[in-house]
Symmetry: C2
Subunit: 298 residues, 2 copies
């Protein structure tokens, strides 16, 4: 039975499976842990249910098998979501290469780069990085690194058919693209708290009711294009480029020392105001779905 193989059946694996099956594709999952295999179908169905309001009502079959070879043998696509450990991932790729000679092997890795993972493979060109963003069944972004344009094109076609928005990583870098942006923003968010400029809840509010609201709609570069008025980004760079460079120099470089950690932990507790992680995740997912519906209606 040709299906999409899910190798590593934890949260990320189940989230991919929810999306694939809601789009009508069958999945066949494997995980070395019996507990993960046992929970997989229920987990996947729970996430699948969140996709119905978006009109994704497909009923792909969810299979779970006891060996990796069985999962990948007839797979048309292989999504790998193993633990973030290089030797472990390399061992998985060796097993996959022995059992399936053709399908693309897409790694959900957030920490590693293609060149670190593909070393030692018989046909490294089959491996790609296809890094989703949390929660992967809801957030459209997937970051693709492929060695050849042909394979990159195949990956774009595959993920676009799944309703994802792929972008192409042209040169490998730690954190790919989105996590580098997130990390850069958080560094200054931590600095603002550490320096006492504003407290945790107000920093988050400034983001959500300010630039974050725009960034759900238009990117950072485009924002500065609009900030340049009729002359666009060329005008902006000519007139305000030097003041941006000065601003950059005034940003902070905080350490996550004990005092800063305490400020962050206490500040987030105040901001959460008694809501559990599950409450907060449910709130986020509900808004995210409404926002995604809005964006697809456009």
């Amino acid at each position: 039975m040709p299906a999409i193989a899910i190798i590593g059946a934890g949260l990320i694996g189940a989230s991919w499976a929810a999306l694939f099956t809601a789009r009508g594709h069958d999945v066949l999952a494997w995980d070395p842990a019996a507990a993960a295999r046992a929970d997989f179908a229920v987990r996947t169905r729970n996430m699948q249910r969140q996709l119905r309001p978006l009109g994704l009502k497909g009923k792909g079959r969810i299979g779970v098998v006891a060996t990796l070879a069985e999962a990948v043998r007839d797979a048309i696509w292989i999504q790998e979501n193993g633990p973030e450990l290089i030797p472990l991932k390399r061992a998985l790729y060796a097993e996959i290469e022995a059992a399936n000679k053709r399908a693309i092997i897409a790694s959900s890795t957030s920490s590693f780069q293609w060149s670190q993972l593909s070393a030692g493979m018989k046909r490294p060109g089959r491996l790609i990085v296809a890094h989703p963003f949390n929660p992967p069944h809801l957030v459209p972004l997937v970051e693709i690194y492929a060695r050849s344009k042909t394979v990159a094109d195949q990956a774009f076609a595959f993920y676009e058919a799944m309703g994802k928005v792929p972008i192409r990583i042209r040169r490998e870098a730690p954190g790919h693209v989105a996590n580098r942006l997130a990390s850069a923003l958080w560094r200054e968010a931590v600095n603002i708290v550490a320096e006492g400029i504003a407290d945790v809840a107000d920093v988050d509010k400034a983001l959500v009711e300010g630039p974050g609201l725009r960034w759900a709609i238009q990117g950072a570069h485009m924002t500065y294009h609009l900030g340049g008025g009729p002359g666009g980004i060329a005008h902006y760079l000519a007139h305000l480029g030097p003041s941006q460079e000065k601003r950059w120099a005034a940003l902070g470089n905080p350490k996550l020392d004990a005092a800063t950690r305490q400020k962050l932990i206490r500040g987030v507790a105040r901001e959460a105001a008694g809501r559990s992680i599950a409450d907060l995740a449910a709130e986020r997912d509900a808004m995210l779905l409404a926002l995604l519906k809005l964006k697809t209606r456009k």
Copy 2:
């Protein structure tokens, strides 16, 4: 006639006026430039129209007067939106202090801090920073710096009544809070392009279809709280704090040199794909309104 005074009747002034009048308050505007005075009412009404879908249908009167003294004499609140030049702003405050002894003077300044602007005032405690985010009639955030808690409380009450979301700057810093975050993110966005990791349009797409989508809903600190699983941010910091510090060290520090400027200008042109600044701003505003409607419905 008690009204809100708008000192400096350019785009920011008109945007504030659109919000205030759509909430039913009268405004009285002044600008030294006759052209700005002549355009003000039409500009304000155009922006006001954008607020109707949000249910803001107030019909406050829009007055324009020929002298600053007339605008502020009976004002209950004074919103200053003059050019970003310290001597000019200080001269405005001296004139305002001579004509009105009580109302709070709120500066929309993005570049300066309270201590730079209030120097030389008879009653510096009357001055506050109340920095909006573009476009101010649509984006809820307003960043408040006030010397005393009493005045800060008054400012919160005033802007909340106008439907804004105020946050409190507790220690002065260039860029206040939101522009520091925006600047930190853009620095890495520029670096990614300069280093050839991804192109302009893909960086923007990664943001808009990835973290930007979440940041319209939940702030950066809260995101890492959820990223920590059931243990929240305390767990995240204990287990992934060191890897964040490593990631921070791997972020870039680009210069806006000629080569990078060219990459940005060409990349934005490709991303805009023929759409004018006006088209792009209209697209952004339409989505922003839909998003704001969604958030207020919550």
